[in-house]
Amino acid sequence: MHSSLWLSLLIAVPLAGALAAALVRERLNAAYRVAVGTSVIEMALSLVVAFLYNNAVPGAATFDFAGRWVLAAPFGLAYDVALDGISLLMVVLTALVVLLALLGARDTRREGAFVAWLLLLTSFTMGSFLAHDVLEFFIFFELTLVPAYFIISQWGGAQRSRAALKFFVYTFTGSAFLFVGTLYLGFAHQHQTQGALTFAYSALSSTAMSSGTATWLFVAFAIAFAVKSPIWPLHTWSPLTYAEAPTAGSIELSALLAKLGSYGLLRFAFALFPLAQANVRPVMLSLAVIGIIYGSALAAVTPDLKRLVAFSSLAQMGFITLGIMTGSKIAMVGAVLLMFNHGVITVGFFLLIGFIEKRRGSATIADLTGWQGPAPVLAALFTVVMLASIGLPGLSGFVSEYLILIGAFATHAWWALVGTLGVVLAALYLLWAYQRVFHGRHHGEAISDASARERWVMVPVVVLIVALGVFPRPVLDRISPSVQQVIEHVAPAGVSK
């Protein structure tokens, strides 16, 4: 077992970076350099952790780097971190996304404050993925709202105030259910053990409860995660918020905060309440499938590129939910992989849309046409990201969607059948949008092609898309044992292997 210090560093480094950036905010470029430096360190740390990670720790299952300190005993409050294959992937994604958002979507308006909020958000997101305690997870989960709120409300588009409020209140309301569910679970466990109040993940996961209680608790947890993900029908905050947020904010929201939702669904709602599975699975699978079709349909008709990605994310989140809720190992591995791949792909999309917006001042599809001629590199980059999102074999999106669908076909064929339609629809709306933006005759003012900086920022995105499409094995090897662990915990209650 490795020291938990590594994980604490992952949380503390961006926190220190945020503080440093806030302190030097008056000096030109200083805050930005601090932020980039911090996120490079963070990226390096996450890679070190990825290589050190050991998926067979005696007594701790697939959790490594564990450490626990009680902070306030009467509240059962503790700082408890640990990492398994699933969180590992999310940690790497977090570090990567922030680095790319900083490099590719620089916002020079009051930059010191902006990067400070961004780093703060990174720290809280890291905390959520590393939390090995349900209450601690909730606290970090809730904390992410504050920096996200300030980023949207101060650096967003014309309707930023409305978008920020809508985002905050929706998520806050969802969290109310998670909060009460968490408290209930903690006390149920305390009454059973007659011990001290604790919210430790490993302790709570062995709480005995009736299938009715489990179902209610699952619903309470799932509401919070469905808002965050978003899962249909609790998604209605997302199009406005994604569209109004500044580019870096949209990236954080869709590539990271959305993953908090699906990560929470898998780690907590799914794994803590095995007895709820039989009751909730048909509902959750149906919501996932509706989300896929609904998101794809709206993505096809929306006039705005950012909203298009928002709706396409809704569809992708549907795939992830489908994969998780089938309870089949292959599909769940695919879902975790898709969480990562979707993160990378959306970063690519939003960066590219940001580049387009910078040139044209608009992300409305009707304002854009014939960009292929003047900007061939931009068009090529867009094509790669788009094809990965559609699920072209050889690119990353294919592997994850394929795993989800074959897993789902084996266990829940009807839902999988409808879900597969989503793959076709994705090709439809993405290709159509591509045609309208890049094909045709260009008119209006001249536009420049991708600058060197923009090209370099996109390199990691393209490399990951191709690498994980061709050779996903190292990643799958790290996810599989942890997913197996979750399934073995849930399986005695009747989940198919």
């Binding site: 509240f75 970090f140 904390l143 409020l165 209140v169 806050f172 109310a176």
Partner: protein, 490 residues
């Protein structure tokens, strides 16, 4: 000889005696010293009295830790962990409120030592309330507190709204007091005593064949308390009074009255009537639902920040009632913890409002705050933190306060109630955030800089420090609150 004169435990009554003594001292000095005493001197007296009380609570705490809880003066006054911690909270609120008032008195047309004399007297009333173990003594404390406040609310004679608010507060407060004392009389009729411990023994040992008298009495007591803490539907006075009163007085009221009234409410409901909890639970349930929801929703439509904070404090009262509803040791600790964290935050918030309100104390439209955090990052940032703390964001004490009461409610089987309260908190998020949005708005219009006095800066800094330090590390406060309730005796 001894039978007529009950023994007095002087350590137990020292806080109230000290604070009342300070009030009298200031009064005497005012009449003896030629030209009256300066604002600085009277503030000094208030702050020193508060600090001395704080020191006394340490001795009281160690006494209670070694000798256990005790009662004195014929069991009318109680000295236990609960009262000691509540006393400490009152002392801190008094110090902070006196400092806020100091800046206001130095720059406004209202001057003189009246504020401090009255505030000290009112605080003595609140101190009596948190230690009272007898319905009559609770009433006594309540009246001392209220009469001081009626005058304090009317202190700003240059504004008609101040007098208007005082009259409203006085009339409705008089009604509430009458209802309370009537309730006490009915409870006396039903149980033959007004002593909290005796009522509790009586009810534990006897079955009332016709409990109507007790129910009516308890209900009237509850109405009296609900009025004082501004629980819906007895809240109608509070927005007008909060708005009309001079802002430092509003801050003082919001903290001191809540602490005093809730501490006494816990004693009456949990200690005296604890055996009848099944009767009171549904009523408290309705009070919590109405108070949290109405407080949050009505705050949404206010344009005046003082009215908004009035409704916000109604919303908070609903949350504190949630701890009372639980009626468990955990619930009492949660109530106490909520008061400990809420009091300093609300005084600090009103300190900012008092500063922004200007010399005439009338600039309280939310538009006055537009861009404040851009022009004065420290002041605006501090207000943003205080508001986020009231909203209940993690890493602030406001989160753990809500956590504590919700946890106690869930533990006592009130999952549904906790969800309702949290949904109210989500509604409340709207107006706190709207205010925060205004703070950070890009404002082309240049408004005057808000002048921050040293005393107010100290209070605001203290409020922010308390909410952040204990927000990250709530361990000590949580332990204090739960120890205080372990010692709590009926």
């Amino acid at each position: 000889m001894t039978s007529l004169m009950p023994s007095i435990h002087y350590l137990a009554v020292l806080p109230a005696a000290l604070v009342l003594g300070a009030s009298v001292l200031a009064l005497i000095l005012t009449s003896l010293v030629r030209g009256g005493i300066s604002t600085r001197t009277s503030t000094g007296i208030s702050v020193l009295a508060g600090l001395a009380t704080l020191v006394v609570t340490f001795f009281q705490w160690s006494y209670v830790a070694h000798h256990g809880a005790t009662t004195t003066i014929d069991h009318a006054i109680v000295l236990d962990g609960f009262s000691v911690v509540a006393t400490g909270v009152l002392a801190v609120s008094l110090i902070m409120a006196a400092l806020v008032a100091h800046d206001w008195l130095s720059r406004s047309a209202v001057s003189g030592p009246q504020f401090h004399i009255l505030a000290l007297a009112a605080s003595a009333g609140a101190l009596v309330m948190v230690q009272a173990n007898d319905l009559v003594v609770i009433f006594l404390g309540l009246e001392i507190l209220s009469i001081g406040l009626y005058v304090l609310v009317a202190l700003d004679r240059h504004r008609a709204s101040s007098s208007e608010a005082a009259l409203k507060y006085f009339l409705l407060g008089g009604f509430a007091s009458a209802i309370f004392i009537y309730g006490a009389a009915l409870v006396y009729g039903a149980t033959g005593t007004t002593n909290v411990s005796s009522i509790s023994y009586f009810l534990a040992g006897n079955v009332l064949l016709r409990p109507g008298l007790l129910w009516a009495g308890g209900a009237l007591l509850l109405v009296g308390f609900a009025f004082k803490v501004a629980a819906v539907p007895f809240h109608l006075w509070s927005p007008d009074v909060y708005e009309g009163a001079p802002t430092p007085v509003t801050g003082f009221m919001a903290s001191i009255v809540k602490v005093g009234a809730f501490a006494a409410l816990v004693r009456v409901i949990i200690s005296a009537l604890g055996t009848q909890m099944d009767t009171w639970r549904p009523i408290l349930f309705a009070l919590v639902v109405l108070t949290t929801l109405v407080g949050a929703s009505m705050a949404l439509i206010q344009r005046n920040v003082k009215r908004m904070l009035a409704y916000s404090s109604i919303n908070h009262a609903g949350f504190i009632l949630l701890g009372v509803w639980s009626a468990t040791t955990r619930g009492n600790a949660a109530t106490l913890f909520y008061l400990m964290t809420y009091a300093p935050i609300v005084v600090a918030t009103f300190a900012v409002v008092a500063l922004v309100g200007g010399a005439r104390d009338d600039a309280h439209a939310i538009d006055r705050y537009r861009g404040l955090a851009r022009r004065q990052p420290l002041l605006g940032g501090a207000l943003a933190i205080l508001l986020l703390s009231q909203l209940g964001v993690p890493l602030t004490t406001g989160f753990y306060a809500k956590f504590a009461v919700l946890a106690s409610a869930v533990d006592a089987g009130g999952g549904a109630l906790a969800v309702i309260a949290l949904l109210a908190a989500a509604i409340a998020a709207f107006f706190y955030l709207r205010w925060v949005l205004a703070l950070y708005a890009e404002e082309p219009v240049e408004l005057d800089r808000v002048v921050v006095g040293r005393a107010s800066a100290l209070v605001i800094g203290l409020g922010v420090a308390i909410t952040l330090v204990f927000g990250v590390w709530p361990g000590p406060l949580a332990a204090l609150a739960s120890h205080a309730t372990v010692l709590f005796t009926p």
